[in-house]
Symmetry: none
Subunit: 195 residues, 4 copies
DNA sequence: TATGAATGAGTTTTCATTCAT
DNA sequence: TATGAATGAAAACTCATTCAT
């Protein structure tokens, strides 16, 4: 029998946790796996990272689209959370910067994820996208009103800039592996900041 | 060892055009295949598009890197050609616009291509990249000196803008299917043109 | 260890009918499942038909042989019951006909069941087989003595005829879907009846 | 270089024979595999028996039904061949006996094969079934006209008798594993022979 | 040299069985 | 005791690469 009050945050080797816990484990593993190996990462790899059997991954997400959709939703929720924090941050620039950085990182890590789902994402994805865009709009305007962000950049260009920051600029080979990503983000942010 | 008096410097009507023709067929097919299915497109698909057997593709490009490198070089050459035309075009804006559009299209179609090669591209790629960047710089400056391109855009940001115009902006799903690509380019070019 | 004064010889209203009820549910489900899907039917399917969890099926019948043995015993008991009724039936032909029909149906539905157990059936199965054969012998002889069944058919051929009537005749595809089964039985019975 | 005229009937280890040869190997292996392990035998097992890679089995028979259909056709052809020989055999009884024996063996070995295909067998199967039945009819009548086969057995009952001879008579456990099959056939043939 | 059949490692997927709840 | 989630071995299936023809 485990010591009283010992079991909540440990899960050191939880051999068969409840469904909720396992779903979360699988989801987290899938995020890491997709970031590391791309959209075609195998279910076995995800299961390995999650520390569960493949069968469990299949039970939770019988279709790959479902799993990828869940990953996308997870990322969108993370970004929405960051966007809310950006709006609450007393330092308008710090908030914007953090949001932009996260946006750039996630965009780069999960290249093709959203694209591959597109229509199939369903309303849960569409809803979150709208919500995130709205928050992004407000965070951008707030930074501009605080005179810390250049006025001549439209809020709807921000995602493009984030994209550009992390995607390798393919044909020209202008950088950018995972390590350079932060650097590229910094450069772009410098360009965005009101001088 | 080839027969004496072999084939390098002889008449342009040299008979064994077969091999070269096949190489060209494969290369063209590979460009289409990568544009359509991404970097992981199978050799079988390329062979199918080229109308040859898989074995032929393997014979011409035993390593995937070699094939992708050849595709990249092919694209770079196309862009270099367009860049030269841009510099020769009496209408500085038209030249710049055509170059930017092609850059955007190729970048979008072949996302990740250059990235995936990176170091392995070899000098042939590096050389062409430099050359293209230099031409791009000159085309940009020329357009700015002709007062048809905004002054506050740095020439080295052009590839980023092109990238942003056509890549799907993953997480947010703003993207850019084939139809929207041209539209996105147009929008960005409008933004770039000197008002 | 069960509580003192436990449940074996107590009142017929004994409370823990649960277990027995579940066993009966599983058994009935297994009969239907085997008839529908063959010997390799999954425990999950049986559990589904029984309306219980798989775990319950495994608890009641940890080995597949045990479950199949129980199914076989159930069928044999049904046939023995019918055979007894055949002997009691004032109409010797009606009794024989009913028995033959049931024999044919069960043989067809559960092709391979007995075969798959064979040695492993244990004494419970062997005993019932002997008993059924003896009853079948007597029912056959009784019908022949009543001059309603052809004399030139040996009682021990009856099971073969029943088998032939319902099994799909594999290679030739003459067979015997569920609808044709009764028809085939009727034809054979017509042949057996004393003209 | 292999010795002249050496390659036709050897194939001791032919690592990559031509397609025809491999198709035949796979088919023969599938027949053995189905006889040994039933309809659900794995593609890997078939490939192993055939001495080829699984991919080859999939290339030849992408659908299991196709493979099983080919096996069935192969068996039907074998039976048709035997039936023709029966009609040509100067000894009417020997011809009939050989045919009946093969029919019983194949029926027993491939229980469920024809059944599982049924409609999906296509015209190739239906055609052969008709042909075999006609030949069987003629072989039966010939044996009866030669007074070596009982007159009171209808030709269309022959497949049922063969079925009964080899299938285990399930519920009653009257024999019959693979070894007893020949014995059961002999018993039945004794019963069929004109006394 | 071109071809595409063959290969088999790797991935996807199922499901009999176990076991935490 | 009943449940059904979890497991993972095994089966189905794919496809990059090789190699006989």
């Amino acid at each position: 029998m485990p010591p009283v009050g010992a079991s909540r945050d440990e899960a050191p080797k939880a051999p068969r946790a409840d469904a909720q816990r396992n779903t979360a484990l699988v989801l987290a593993a899938a995020r890491r796996a997709v970031a590391a190996h791309g959209l075609t990462v195998s279910y076995h790899e995800i299961a390995r990272l999650a520390g569960v059997g493949v069968g469990t991954v299949y039970r939770r997400f019988p279709e790959r689209d479902q799993l990828m959709g869940a990953v996308l939703i997870d990322i969108l929720d993370e970004l929405i959370c960051e966007a809310n924090q950006a709006l609450d941050n007393p330092d308008a620039w710090a908030g914007f910067r953090n949001l932009f950085t996260l946006l750039a990182l996630r965009t780069g890590e999960n290249a093709g994820l959203s694209d591959s789902l597109d229509e199939r994402g369903g309303p849960q994805v569409a809803q979150r996208r709208s919500r995130l865009l709205e928050l992004l709009r407000r965070a951008t305007l707030r930074a501009q009103q605080a005179h810390v962000l250049r006025d001549d950049v439209a809020w709807h260009d921000i995602p493009f800039l984030a994209q550009g920051a992390t995607s390798a600029v393919c044909v020209l080979g202008l950088h950018a592996g995972p390590l350079q990503a932060q650097q590229a983000v910094t450069v772009i942010l410098d360009g965005l900041r009101r001088s």
